[in-house]
Symmetry: C2
Subunit: 175 residues, 2 copies
DNA sequence: CCAAGTTGGTTCAATGACCGAACCGAGGCT
DNA sequence: AGCCTCGGTTCGGTCATTGAACCAACTTGG
């Protein structure tokens, strides 16, 4: 977007935030990172994003300290992208956005989000109604619902059909 | 963006939401609507957005039922754009985004948001810590802080320097 | 009445972002 | 050697955004 041009004059933390995460695809990359997607190729097939755009987004997100590029094997050298604390702090935003989309657009609940400790569905603000506390992101369990396509083409979507916690890396079956 | 092309396949309420409000400028238009901006020209000068883009955004937001175009005088015919319930439901998202921007990017608190009934600053989820309840959007009072430019060029920014409630229309002084 | 101003747009050419496909290089496997 | 995977880069074509100019309806000032 090269947002800075106009957004910078906005004297507003919302505008500043949008400069960083407001570009096309960016929030979907971050959503996938919460779902445990970590590798270039997995983002690629799961999002259907152009390669050049993905490379650019990963680079700016890394530069902004939202993702961290981390070497996870030496030979061949391979890196993964994981959310930093700053990235994890975006969870309430994503949660609110998803809630709005579900209630005002799709109308269907495709996945359930639960407090892993007690199995209770999260409330409107991401809290656990049973425990009365805000649930830390790693304690949120994602349970895919029946509304999802059960035979998706790409292996990442297939791996995400299993319940798992947020941030926990997806295990993509090699074909 | 003409997002639908790829986003539609995403089986995700976040993706659906981004199709509707993910385009450049859209969320800033909505933010301004919360601040009480209602008229084409006021959006224009406050955001510094190209006219054609503003017209396009207002049209899609109206078509999506997020804004409502409402005739407020007959002669000359003049319309204003006001948030619908669906639009007002975006407040938690905007709040979360603004909080993230303030804590992780700008670091400065430019405006205070308070529960108008008791004057208490809102908590992290937009609740009133004193009353222990979620504050309805029209009961949120915006108090501009000293970090803001006190002599902004455009009349809308100047009008917004006075404390007021969300959704309450701005009163722009004619020059 | 006429001229100028206000409001809310539309149109247009130029620029920039995004797209999909092709290519590339490092390293491993057989 | 030859082929595969992973993580990119490069490239031409297309689509969105930009800023400036133009336009139409109506009002106000003289």
């Amino acid at each position: 977007m090269a947002l800075g041009k106009d957004y910078a004059t906005q004297e507003c933390s919302i505008a500043s935030a949008l400069e960083v995460i407001g570009e096309r695809w960016t929030l979907l990359v971050i959503r996938d990172a919460f779902y445990g997607v970590r590798r270039y190729n997995d983002f690629l097939v799961h999002l259907g994003i152009p390669r050049a755009v993905l490379a650019a987004r990963l680079q700016t997100l890394t530069a902004q300290g939202i993702l961290e590029k981390r070497r996870y094997q030496e030979s061949p050298p391979r890196d993964e992208y994981v959310l930093t604390d700053r990235g994890i702090a975006l969870w309430p935003t994503l949660w609110a956005l998803g809630l709005w989309g579900r209630e005002h657009l799709t109308g269907v609940r495709l996945r359930a989000f639960r407090h892993a400790d007690c199995g209770t569905d999260l409330g409107r603000y991401g809290e656990c109604p049973a425990c009365g506390t805000v649930v830390p992101v790693p304690d949120v369990e994602v349970v895919p619902g029946p509304g999802l396509n059960q035979e998706p083409a790409d292996p990442v979507s297939r791996a995400l059909l299993r319940p798992k916690r947020l941030l926990q890396p997806v295990e993509v079956d090699p074909v």
